[in-house]
Symmetry: C2
Subunit: 594 residues, 2 copies
């Protein structure tokens, strides 16, 4: 049966050895106050326990049972409510929350590791705290002091949960055309009416109140994305004294039957003049979501590596246990009827692929989280500006590349099991079903790709992109004298040169054809992703080479980096060729001829 062990050693390696989080944290007063390496270490340790002991056991049964809808009430699967309570009582809900309102103010570099464990052990469960944390971020960044005081402490404590209500039946990617309305009430509140769909944990029985953040249009708001406002709409109204008042006029009309994340409720939410309060400025609702979005999108990328890690762990156990055929080089376990399948090169290829993609993803999301932390906590205006640029640039890559590669990993993790991977018993097929949503929600991976090359690169003439390339080139330069690093630096250098060329190519082509950006976007993001992973493995290898010999961990790091460099990194070549295939071949046929 599937088990889950938090990959603490690997997380500590990234935090303490590769990215030297302690120095970074010490350099920013607000973080220096909140966290030190010992605290961080204790947090990781405890999170690992709760993930393995409390949350992971929910995963299989929750999938079998699913959330249940009955006349507007939603019941989470058995054990979810209790786990949510344990999680909340441990203070985990406020880990990244604002200290002013009862949060712990921890950096995303650390919060991200905790997220990986929670999401990786049961993503259906993890979505509840994740959405709550996202809602809190928007409130903390944009709501009035009054709203913050009223909602944040109880959301951080887990007493209340949060939900994000964006999508409507006819409006997903294109939020500009939403129809939900908010009419001003005499008391300064608004009457919110409309239907939202795909609302994760929009209704459930795990917390006593659910705080919805709802996108809606004010009367006479301008058309399109510039006419959208954000409202806080609680399930139960909150009295002056903070106690719960009457039930607000919103309800869950039904829940979806889905491919995966079945234990989580995906709700149709009906708002019928429900009382809401404006968050941030009128018509600036999408802006008020941006802060939240970068964090959430990084969190979705982290979901990917969490699930992929879980699938990897099971696949390794199975590959060491399952006996089938003999190694090409001769019997390895002559006393048994066959060798464990881990002796076979193709099984190793699959395991190494999973391992490399997960380790690369973990490093890359930690690296992106570093920039999120600097942009939030630094008092140095220049650092902050650089960090904001890096966050803007890297976020779509983290969201998209880490979930695409995680999908590949879980499919490989299923394949290792052969026919046993297809039946539910072993748990591997659930990971494949669960992971698929991460490539779709929080902005599909196609939309992320457009965001990267369109808004984050083309729109500013490549300014952010140049900063990133500069940093990588500095790193490369710093390693020029290090002969042992040549096996990683030479391929990295080639990959970076290719990425720069490719970007120029697309920017140039886009001058003549508005379709070129969209035609190249997905493969371009993949090229960006593999190149970035190459940078991550190179940085990790500097440390691993220094410490090689001290423990097998470092030799294993190098083995994985070598596998990545030789067998996965070359993918950027074909992807770049595909980009250069251009847009014209996408328009050789009329829409009605498909």
């Amino acid at each position: 049966m599937p088990e889950y062990t938090a990959p603490l050693r690997d997380m500590r390696f990234l935090l303490n050895e590769v990215f030297e989080a302690d120095k970074l944290w010490a350099s920013m007063p607000r973080l220096a106050e909140a966290v030190d390496p010992e605290t961080a270490d204790a947090i990781l340790e405890e999170a690992g326990k709760i993930a393995a002991n409390v949350i992971a056991p929910l995963n299989r049964d929750g999938d079998e049972q699913s959330s249940q809808w009955n006349d507007g009430e939603v019941t989470a699967p058995d054990g979810f409510k209790e786990a949510y309570q344990t999680y909340s009582e441990g203070g985990w809900g406020g880990l990244g929350g604002s200290a002013e309102f009862g949060g712990m103010g921890m950096p995303k570099m650390l919060v991200g590791q905790v997220e990986e464990m929670i999401q990786g052990s049961c993503v259906s469960f993890g979505l509840a705290p994740m959405l709550t944390a996202g809602a809190c971020l928007s409130v903390a960044a944009h709501a009035s002091q009054e709203l913050k005081e009223k909602y944040l402490p109880n959301m951080y404590s887990g007493q209340w949960a949060g939900a994000m209500d964006l999508t409507e039946p006819h409006a997903g990617t294109d939020l500009g055309i939403i129809r939900t309305k908010a009419e001003p009430n005499a008391d300064g509140s608004f009457a919110v009416s409309g239907t939202k769909i795909f609302i994760t944990w929009g209704e459930h029985d795990m917390a006593e109140n659910i705080i919805h953040l709802v996108l809606a249009k004010l009367p006479d708001a301008p058309a399109g994305p510039k006419g959208i406002s954000l409202f806080i709409v609680p399930k139960f109204l909150v009295n002056e004294d903070g106690s719960l008042g009457e039930r607000n006029t919103l309800s869950c009309g039904s829940i979806e039957h889905k491919m995966g994340i079945k234990a989580s409720a995906t709700c149709v939410m009906n708002f019928d003049g429900a009382k809401g309060w404006l968050v941030g400025d009128e018509n600036k609702g999408l802006n008020a979501m941006f802060t939240m979005m970068n964090y959430e999108r990084v969190a979705v990328g982290i979901q990917g590596i969490g699930i992929a890690e879980n699938s990897y762990q099971n696949a390794v156990l199975y590959a060491n246990d399952r006996l089938q055929s003999r190694a090409p080089t001769g019997k390895q376990a002559p006393e048994k009827a066959a060798d464990p399948i881990i002796v076979h090169p193709d099984v190793r290829r699959m395991l190494f692929t999973m391992r490399a993609l997960t380790e690369g993803g973990r490093a890359f999301s930690t690296y992106a989280s570093k920039w999120l932390d600097i942009s939030k906590f630094s008092d140095n205006a220049e650092d902050k500006k650089l960090a904001e640029a890096m966050v803007a640039l890297l976020t779509p890559v983290v969201k998209s590349f880490l979930t695409d590669t995680a999908h590949e990993s879980t499919v490989a993790g299923q394949q290792v099991f052969g026919g046993h991977g297809f039946i539910r018993e072993w748990g591997q097929e659930q990971h494949v079903r669960d992971i698929r949503i991460t490539q779709i929600y929080e902005g599909t991976n196609g939309i992320q790709s457009l965001d990267l090359i369109g808004r984050k690169i083309a729109a500013n003439g490549g300014a952010f992109f140049k900063l990133y390339i500069e940093e990588i080139n500095q790193f490369i330069a710093s390693q020029e004298g290090n002969a042992k690093m040549a096996e990683f630096i030479t391929p990295l250098k080639a990959a970076v040169a290719n990425l720069v060329d490719l970007t120029d190519w697309v920017m140039d082509k886009a001058q003549g054809n508005a379709n070129e950006i969209g035609a190249s976007s997905v493969e371009f993001l993949q090229v960006f992703g593999y190149t970035s992973f190459s940078y991550m493995f190179a940085m990790s290898s500097v440390v691993a080479l220094e410490k090689e010999g001290s423990e097998p961990f470092y030799a294993n790091k190098l083995a994985t980096a070598r596998f990545f460099t030789k067998r996965l990194l070359p993918r950027y070549i074909s992807l770049s060729e595909a980009v250069k295939g251009g847009a014209d071949c996408l328009y050789g046929m009329e829409a009605d001829q498909f």
Copy 2:
């Protein structure tokens, strides 16, 4: 709601225009007698109707309902029994069957097209006739005249169904270690005892009898694959007069809960001294399966394109219907709130990818079927020998590459729908769940890859491979003067040269390291696959260029071929680089360090 339309125009294009099946059939007496272009056309037409009207409607509800097990009895979902009857009464069960025993003796080139429609409209249903046809093939090729007469007519008529019983709990890929025993009875029959798992439609209520073909070991049989025999073990014994006698001592212990193909029953079968009869020679059971296996493996590849075609059709409908955002080049449907998403380059990229992979796969499986037909029906010894070589070489590629690419297609078909692709209502997620098994059963795709490069290339010094390359080179030479074809021939030429080089590279490396074959196998097969698709698109394009302008169909063919050539074919470059990454990087870590 999902619908299915048989892609008849495309099938006719391949049969009549690209591969000129009429000439081929006319050249072989047994086929000339069985089929002519008019008959073939009528068969396609009727198959399209039964697929769309009778079988496709089973797909969604069957998935929701699943097959049910109750105390050894298995009930297929509502409507399956009736559809099976309609299918059988139409004579479809005997389409490819031996004419001597009541079959129609049709060529696989035609049978494969019918299979695509049946499998593409509901693969869970399609597995029942597919497994029956497979069992019939083994019986027809290897059983005694008596057994053939006793079983084949009722299996072709659909009155009885067939099942293949190979896998055991501890023996999947490695059939050499099976434990099921067959002890001789005094009457010349055998008492078969053991447990088989993953037996597709091993038990059900659609036919009055189920004929199991069971692999088992005779007493004192040699160890390993050379000690396996094949037995025919009916659910109900058959009396001398052909009527059904007593129930045999075999039973279905349970059925699996699976990721997909839920409507089909995947059975644990317990044999408790069940009466069986030897098929073919003692200890030659695996040989007796080979004939069947080439057909079945091609059929699994065809399942892939059938399901992918279904997903594609739904995705096209949705992409033309769903309004979201505006085209990069400006409003296309100014009267609407947004443009249909088919205007967006990335949506077109996904649709074209599906289209190209499905068309390439359909051409390639038809091409492989042509060789199957020559190997079976030709009276010319030289042609037969060539055909057998081509069948051996191409079969693992058809099975594996068509299901891998079909998986990519269905994932893309789901992605086109965004969040709506993840919920069950639209049917797209079912295709992703269903397709996954095709990459696993009938020999995992990893095993197919080993078969290709190990047994079909390395083991005979590349003799079969050279024949194939020769044929492609002849085709290339025949087009040298055709300027219009240069856009397809130049890339094909480069791909073929690369494939030849790569094969040499692997053969050379394998001399020094037994792990190199397995280390390169999966990516090597993919390179082989893309190169073969390039050949298929080039052959189709010769026809399409000649007829361009006569109907949009030909221009669309060319558009798809161009998309493939520019955006998908380049994948072989990186895959080849990965192969050249070699085996060593797979063994840089001990098994217990993963």
